[in-house]
């Protein structure tokens, strides 16, 4: 076993977890692009997805291919309710207030999950093939590999969809100028709703993948913090940024964890965050419109 092989394996494992950051980051960016809301509850919606899958697969004994859509639908439903019930009334308020609303929402969701499923960490039923995967000689944990594939499919679909579909164009128009978009006949409120629905659905789906790898628990929402770093690094309003940022942070975390020790992971990612904020606050790919002095 050469060192290069080990490095490759670490790199691949990093890409694997980075892909999960990327897909959650995409959901985050979608919401931000459409509604300018920094949704810190994304981690909790992800958690809810994991639990919904658990409820469907372990509670109702549905097969995984039914439970997964159930989880995504549950996420989408929450997205719809939250957008109409909490975010729409906050329209026009300061971004900080809306940000705090999402923090409160995260707290509510975490409590809800504990009431329904209890505080114990749980494991999702196995649904991904468990045969080990080797790329060349390098080992990749199968769950991580499938997670990576699924995440990449979703992210690619998003990037393409944003570019070529009507909805994607409407979203871009809304993001660029809400009033102008409205005046050319784009139903802006509908764009708001749809973006929340789709984003929360995607986040819930990501939650199933994350849960399959590490199990689910009411504290799983901290995943959202890492995602926050990812989207800031990539640029809050850039899908490509979320992808690159996610993979980058994933790999950096993997190497930091391997060569410095697990306790350094957060330190390294947040140091990168500070650096980015000081040097390039709009992120690697974000629009240069960030309020600054």
């Amino acid at each position: 076993m050469t060192d290069w092989l080990f490095l490759t394996e670490v790199f691949l494992a990093g890409l694997g977890s980075g892909a999960l950051y990327a897909v959650t980051g995409v959901a985050f960016v979608l919401i931000y692009k459409a509604t300018r809301v920094v949704n810190l509850a994304i981690g909790e919606i992800l958690m809810l997805g994991g639990y919904a899958f658990f409820g469907a697969a372990a509670g109702w004994h549905l097969p995984a291919w039914v439970a997964l859509p159930v989880a995504i639908l549950a996420g989408a439903l929450v997205g719809a309710v939250v957008e109409r019930g909490l975010i729409r009334p906050m329209l026009g308020e300061s971004p900080i207030s809306v940000f705090m609303v999402t923090i409160g929402l995260g707290s509510i969701l975490a409590g809800f999950v504990q009431i329904v499923w209890g505080a114990d960490p749980l494991r999702l039923p196995e649904f991904l093939p468990s045969a080990p995967i080797f790329i060349g000689e390098a080992y990749v944990a199968p769950k991580v590999a499938y997670g990576f594939l699924a995440a990449m499919v979703v992210v690619t679909a998003f990037v393409l969809g944003l570019r070529f579909s009507r909805g994607g164009v409407a979203l871009k128009a809304t993001a660029a100028d809400q009033a102008a978009a409205y005046s050319v006949g784009i139903d802006v409120p509908r764009v708001f709703s749809l973006s929340w629905i789709v984003a929360c659905g995607v986040a819930a789906g990501a939650g199933v993948l994350v849960g399959a790898i590490g199990g689910i628990s009411p504290t799983m929402g901290v995943f959202g913090l890492s995602v926050l770093v990812v989207v800031i690094v990539g640029g809050l309003d850039s899908m490509a940024g979320a992808l690159v940022g996610g993979l980058f942070i994933g790999v950096v975390e993997a190497f930091a964890g391997t060569f410095l020790g697990g306790e350094y992971r957060f330190l390294v990612t947040f140091s990168i965050l500070i650096l980015i904020l000081m040097v390039r606050p709009y992120g690697l790919f974000g629009t240069h419109e960030i309020e600054r002095l």
Binding site: M90, G111, Q114, I274
Partner: protein, 346 residues
């Protein structure tokens, strides 16, 4: 009924308390605060001390967020700086506690200035996120620095006054409450000065503030310094109160707690910081009390307590932001107004 506030000079206009009733109420509150420890049980004294510490910290955050408009999610991390400083000084130097508290506050102010530097580049949400990052870095430092005892943290001896150890809520009350009262009074007075008014000008519109001749750089950092000084003092009080400081004593969720406290209480009012902190500290106790009452009829009530607490915490933030953005202070103002206008307007 009150017809109006007639003022004949500027001093009256600037006064903190503008009516005699208000002054009377304040005096009554002071008297109650002095009498309280003699009638209350240790449990209530414990809660009173905890409330006071939270009031001190929330008031500090209010200066930064409520008055200067700079959002921080690092208040708990700043408190940990103060708490660790006090603990280290108490253990290794054995200096008098008032000095320790002061040093803790000043050191935290320095750290606060450091964390505030990004505020020159970014503001709003980005600043909030930068303060989260700073909390992570501070947590790491405390968890891995031998001086701060690593993950085990530090256990420290109690504060001493003339050879008497202050280790009971009853004694600590006399340390914590006066310090908090002074801090709150200081904050209230701050906004009668040029500095405080500059903060408000920056909050309302930073560019116009600059045009008015307020150097943004200096004043923003000053706001960070004052606010973290408060956090440091509150952290120091916390350390003397619990006498053990670990990296896990000040999690991110505590920072959210303080932000929630000033939202619920009312941002940008001194009263709001006090009301919010006391309210948010008492809500879990109230829930616990309710759970205790329900237990005989519904034995699992206690097990539901934590999730319900989490939900109530979130719901209070969301509910206040949507329905009462100016918080409890606004409700209080409305109640006062009702009595001012009574019986003409009902």
């Amino acid at each position: 009924m009150r017809i109006g506030t007639l003022k004949t000079d500027y001093a009256a206009d600037e006064a903190l308390f503008d009516t005699r009733l208000q002054k009377l109420l304040i005096l009554l509150a002071c008297a109650a605060a002095v009498l309280f420890p003699f009638v209350a049980s240790p449990y209530w004294l414990f809660l009173a001390c905890l409330c006071a510490i939270n009031v001190a910290s929330a008031t500090g955050l209010n200066i930064l967020t409520g008055y200067t408009g700079l959002v921080s999610l690092g208040q708990a991390a700043f408190m940990s700086v103060g708490a660790y400083t006090v603990a280290v000084l108490e253990i290794h130097a054995g200096t008098p506690f008032l000095l320790n508290l002061l040093v803790g506050g000043l050191l935290t102010a320095l750290v606060g200035i450091g964390v505030g530097i990004p505020s020159l580049r970014v503001k709003g949400l980005y600043l909030a996120i930068a303060t989260i990052a700073a909390s992570v870095v501070l947590h790491f430092v405390f968890a891995h620095w031998p001086l701060t005892g690593g993950m085990q943290g530090l256990s420290m001896p109690p504060a001493r006054l003339f050879g008497l150890a202050l280790d009971q809520p009853f004694q600590l009350y006399w340390l914590i409450l006066p310090v908090t009262a002074l801090m709150v009074l200081g904050a209230a007075n701050l906004f009668r000065t040029r500095v405080g008014r500059a903060f408000i000008a920056i909050r309302d519109r930073d560019i116009s503030a600059e045009v008015l001749g307020i150097p943004l750089l200096r004043y923003k950092l000053m706001s960070f310094a004052v606010s973290s000084f408060y956090a440091g003092l509150a952290g120091g009080l916390w350390a003397y109160f619990f006498r053990v400081v670990t990296p896990e004593s000040f999690p991110l969720v505590n920072s959210i707690f303080y932000l929630a406290a000033i939202i619920v209480g009312g941002m940008g009012t001194i009263l709001g910081g006090i009301l919010g902190a006391v309210f948010m500290t008492m809500v879990p106790e109230l829930l616990k009390f309710v759970a205790g009452l329900v237990t005989p009829f519904y034995p699992d009530a206690l097990a539901l307590l934590a999730p319900v607490r989490t939900i109530v915490f979130g719901a209070l933030i969301v509910g206040f932001l949507i329905f009462e953005p100016h918080g409890l202070a606004e409700i209080w103002r409305r109640i006062r107004r009702f009595f001012h206008l009574w019986p003409f307007r009902t």
